[in-house]
């Protein structure tokens, strides 16, 4: 199978600072890949390398099987959308869309056809005569996408395209980008540090940290089977709860929290079954996997706790408490009445959690 984008052994330094090191990534045709990671981890750098806006220090980049490592950006068959929109401020929307084409001396009617098509797809026909200042943030971002669209490219690159928008608009445009992808079926590489965007949009997510891809998998796997503590903590809001302690293997493996509380983890699917000796480990449980009241009684592990803080979030409610002396947050339906100071029974099934080796911080 030919990959749409293929990155081989890519390294990039700024002076002595190594931002990317020996990075490999294969992206299938029509795939929607999201690069997710904290600020400064090298996401934009990687994207710029693919676009040809940065010269790589080592390695190769293939697009549609063609080695484009030394090609100019315009010859790579890519289109790019930026966080700041980067619209040409003094040109109308129409000219913004057509500028690249006219510079490439495409015939006039062809230019018009493409602009018209892009405007239709993005529903910005009424805006064509306006200047960017006269547009709202969402409209600007749509024009920015249009600029990539008119160029009929194979690969779309997005660098945090929605970061400058407010929450509402962001979720609207998210759906639109998803629709666009379903319609166009282009390969798309999308950089963000917003996990909701990553989870909702991606076919596969690449979680990056310090220039290294930590995990590359579909959203479900990333969310439910994080390969290490970093990924586990990075994905999910509120964060996954972590209990520190030791894992004791055997026929009836248990997790012993630091204060001695014993949690049976027989139901957990170990990737490598622990032997009898105790190993320092971390047990991770997501807040929404913690059951309350009656439901908790059926869980392999349950305990009474006093609620410290309650955060009603509309659709559901977050509560903060302590289990085995360690802070734990859990999520309840907003119907359930919770108040700080109240004592409730909570419980969970370790099968839905993750256990990590404390030393390597990898999932076991």
């Amino acid at each position: 199978m030919q990959h749409s984008v293929s990155i081989r052994d890519l390294s990039l330094n700024f002076g002595h600072v190594k931002v990317l090191e020996h990075l490999n990534l294969d992206i299938a045709e029509g795939e929607f890949i999201v690069l997710l990671g904290p600020s400064g981890c090298g996401k934009s750098t990687l994207l710029n390398c693919i676009a040809g806006l940065l010269d790589v220090s080592d390695g190769q980049i293939f697009i549609n099987g063609k080695n484009v490592t030394w090609e100019e950006p315009k010859d790579r068959g890519i289109g790019m959308v930026f966080q700041s929109y980067a619209l040409y401020p003094q040109m109308t929307v129409e000219r913004n869309l057509s500028f690249g084409l006219r510079v490439a001396r495409l015939p006039k009617d062809e230019v018009e056809r493409r602009v018209k098509r892009a405007a239709e797809i993005l529903q910005i026909e009424p805006l064509l005569k306006r200047k960017p200042v006269e547009l709202s943030g969402g409209q600007r971002q749509r024009v920015a996408i249009g600029r990539a669209l008119v160029r009929d490219v194979d690969v779309f690159l997005f660098d945090e395209p929605l970061s400058n928008l407010d929450a509402k608009l962001r979720s609207d445009l998210r759906v639109e980008i998803k629709r666009l992808h379903q319609r166009l079926k282009n390969t798309m590489i999308y950089v963000t540090h917003d996990q909701i965007e990553a989870l909702t949009l991606a076919d596969r997510i690449a979680i990056m940290k310090n220039g290294v891809i930590q995990q590359l998998a579909d959203p479900h796997t990333i969310y439910n089977k994080p390969v290490n503590l970093y990924v586990a903590g990075f994905i999910g809001s509120p964060t996954m709860n972590f209990l520190e302690g030791e894992v004791v293997g055997g026929a009836e493996p248990v997790f012993k929290a630091n204060d001695g509380t014993v949690i049976p983890v027989k139901t957990y699917e170990f990737s490598q079954a622990p032997n009898g000796s105790a190993v320092k480990g971390v047990l991770g449980v997501r807040p929404e996997h913690i059951a309350i009241g009656e439901a908790a009684k059926t869980m392999p592990f349950a305990t009474e706790v006093e609620i410290e803080i309650v955060e009603p979030m509309g659709s559901d409610t977050l509560a903060y408490t302590k289990v085995a002396g360690q802070a734990i947050a859990f999520r309840a339906d907003s119907d359930v009445h919770l108040a700080s100071g109240q004592t409730v029974l909570i419980g969970f099934d370790p099968a839905r959690g993750s256990i990590f080796d404390a030393a390597s911080s990898n999932r076991i």
Binding site: M1, Q2, H3, S6, R8, D9, N24, D26, D55, V56, S57, D58, G59, Q60, F62, G65, N67, T69, W70
Partner: protein, 313 residues
């Protein structure tokens, strides 16, 4: 995977050496001499010639003797280097009866420049601050008129200002020059400071007000410490401007304070007699030395300050 071929072992790469050359890897090759670079550097080079040529001529001429100058080759370095013109310009060129060269004027210029620079910048900084953070009714109108003011030829104002300072009883004293430089520096400096302060977050100002700080306290403790870049710009503009000034110094400062430019003017403008170009050039360089040093020392800060103050315009 078909692409495994490209991540092949090093042995294979060696074997297909020729092929790997057409199979790009690593940084894009960049020849050192591209036509683009040659054009850029040659234009810059010629621009620099244009900018440096007069300085070269000035320096070279100042070290020549008059006969050599009459010989007529402004390019040629002096056959016989002589500092005579410099000594003469500094210590013995005559201004009427006093033949002390430029040296006495130097200190007068310092006397004028230092207080004028300080006062004019201080006032302008306060203006900018008040215009941005303490707007009052009509403050924008005052500012607009001020900007118009920068277009008025100085000479037009000379007459009324003489009368004004006379009425104030400060004509012919340092106070008068300080006042005049403050007035004429005000438009551009106020513009600079205003733009600079406008770019600072208003919230800082608000926070300080909530903290109970008043007009002056905010100015001195919050705004000033953050304004170094623009102060450097203002300093440079004012030092050079005031140092180079002739008219205001000579009219308003009083006899005892004639600035250096007066002597320069006397040396180069001697209405009769053959001009001594070498002395002129030496005197010119000497007079321009202070502003030049200021520029060479603070060029980088100046550029940064310009970026901070003027661009937002």
């Amino acid at each position: 995977m078909t692409t495994t071929a490209t991540v092949s072992s090093s042995a294979q790469t060696e074997a297909t050496d020729v092929k790997s050359r057409v199979d790009p890897r690593g940084p894009r090759p960049k020849p050192f001499f591209t036509p683009r670079k040659i054009i850029i550097y040659s234009i810059l080079f010629f621009a620099c010639l244009y900018f440096l040529f007069p300085l070269y001529v000035m320096i070279v001429t100042s070290f020549k003797t008059m006969p050599e100058i009459r010989w007529g080759n402004i390019f040629a370095p002096p056959i016989e280097w002589t500092g005579e013109a410099w000594t003469k310009a500094w210590t013995s060129a005559c201004t009427g009866l006093t033949c002390q060269g430029l040296s006495p004027g130097f200190w007068n210029s310092v006397k004028i420049t230092v207080p004028s620079t300080i006062v004019s910048i201080f006032i302008a900084a306060i203006n900018g601050y008040a215009l941005i953070n303490w707007r009052f009714k009509g403050s924008e109108i005052f500012f607009s008129i001020l900007i118009f003011g920068s277009f008025i030829p100085y000479q037009v104002m000379l007459y009324p200002l003489v009368m004004l300072t006379r009425e104030m009883g400060i004509f012919g004293s340092l106070w008068a020059v300080i006042l005049i430089h403050t007035i004429f520096g005000m438009p551009i400096l106020t513009l600079l400071f205003r733009n600079y302060f406008a770019a600072l977050p208003v919230e800082l100002f608000k926070a300080a007000r909530v903290d109970g700080a008043g007009f002056w306290r905010i100015f001195f403790e919050i705004m000033l410490p953050m304004s170094l870049p623009i102060f450097v710009v203002a300093l440079i503009l004012q030092i050079t401007g005031i140092w180079n000034d002739f008219l205001f110094g000579v009219v308003f400062a009083g006899t005892q304070n004639y600035p250096m430019t007066v002597q320069l003017n006397n040396i180069v403008n001697s209405a009769q007699g053959s001009p001594e170009y070498n002395v002129n050039m030496a005197a010119t360089i000497l007079t321009g030395l202070v502003p030049l040093i200021v520029y060479f020392v603070s060029g980088r800060l100046f550029v940064r300050g310009i970026a901070a103050g003027a661009v937002k315009g």
